[in-house]
């Protein structure tokens, strides 16, 4: 699930190559540990990570 929407921020992949970064939305996406690690004993703990719009697909 999307925890919150941030940005827009310049695309870091373009910045890394010295280009002007296209402005993109940045999402904080919340994952259940149980969905990330099959063997976790705490499946309902969560990991929030920042992911740029172009790495996400419509769910």
């Amino acid at each position: 699930m999307v925890e919150r929407v941030l940005g827009p921020f310049a695309n870091p992949e373009q910045l890394a190559y010295g280009h002007a970064g296209e402005l993109l939305a940045l999402y904080r996406v919340r994952f259940r540990l149980g969905d990330l690690w099959a063997d976790t004993d705490r499946p309902d703990d969560t990991l929030d990570a920042e992911i740029y719009a172009h790495w996400l697909e419509e769910a």
Binding site: L6, R28, R30, D45, T46, L47, A49, E50
Partner: protein, 221 residues
């Protein structure tokens, strides 16, 4: 420990390679400068020569960076504990709320996450060492270690237990991976028995680790 040796049992020269305080001597840095050290000196000297900055300004900036400490973050947390409207502003926009108190977070954006009776937050930067330096100073070495960076996202409760943090049943752990554009600070839960304490006294209970999430705030003495 070498300094515990009763005098007379050994001559004054210590062969163990340890200083009198029991630590290894650090080798003198007699090697050549690295490429990047040379580059830094060259650019700094050029900028001074061209009048862009002065040596004193460079020294003052290094001083300012070294002066940053967890006390700034602790002041923010103590205010959030005592001023509900500030707490709300801090949760809504961490950068703006910190700036209100005179702490500039710089170009990064600050997100404050709050520990409650049911949620415990912990911060990690899996890529490198992203850390709210303007509020907490320099990150501890362990924060940058591969072990902390990999294990905190994989088995956060085991990592927390190694820091002496055991959470009550029914608490959800939320791990926050800090990458490039955001910085995170945990607002630890306010300890019991602190009713009526002023923000300054409360700030003394807010440890660096409690703002990373690997600790909890201290109880009043």
């Amino acid at each position: 420990m070498p300094h515990d040796t009763p005098s007379g049992t050994h001559d004054h020269h210590d062969h163990s390679g340890l200083s009198p305080s029991g630590h290894p001597y650090r080798a003198d840095q007699d090697g050549p400068l690295t490429y990047w050290q040379t580059m830094e000196i060259a650019i700094r000297e050029l900028m001074v020569e061209k009048g862009v900055v002065t040596e004193a300004e460079v020294a003052a900036q290094v001083d300012a960076m070294d002066a940053r400490s967890p006390a700034q973050g602790a002041a923010v947390v103590a205010r959030a504990w005592t001023d509900p409207a500030f707490r709300d502003r801090l949760l809504a926009d961490g950068s703006a709320a910190s700036a209100e108190m005179g702490f500039d977070v710089g170009p990064m954006r600050l997100i404050a996450v709050e520990n409650t009776a049911h949620v415990h937050n912990v911060i990690v930067c899996t890529l490198c060492s992203c850390y709210p330096r303007n509020l907490l100073g320099l990150p501890p070495d362990w924060y940058k270690s591969r072990a902390y960076r990999t294990r905190t996202v994989r088995e956060p409760r085991r990592v927390l237990s190694e820091f002496g943090v055991t959470l009550p049943e029914g608490t959800t752990v939320r791990v926050h991976d800090s990458t490039a554009d955001m910085r995170y600070i945990v607002i630890p839960a306010r300890p019991a028995g602190t009713e009526g304490m002023d923000p300054e006294a409360l700030a003394a209970l807010v440890t660096r680790d409690s703002m990373i999430g690997t600790g909890i705030a201290k109880s009043p003495a």
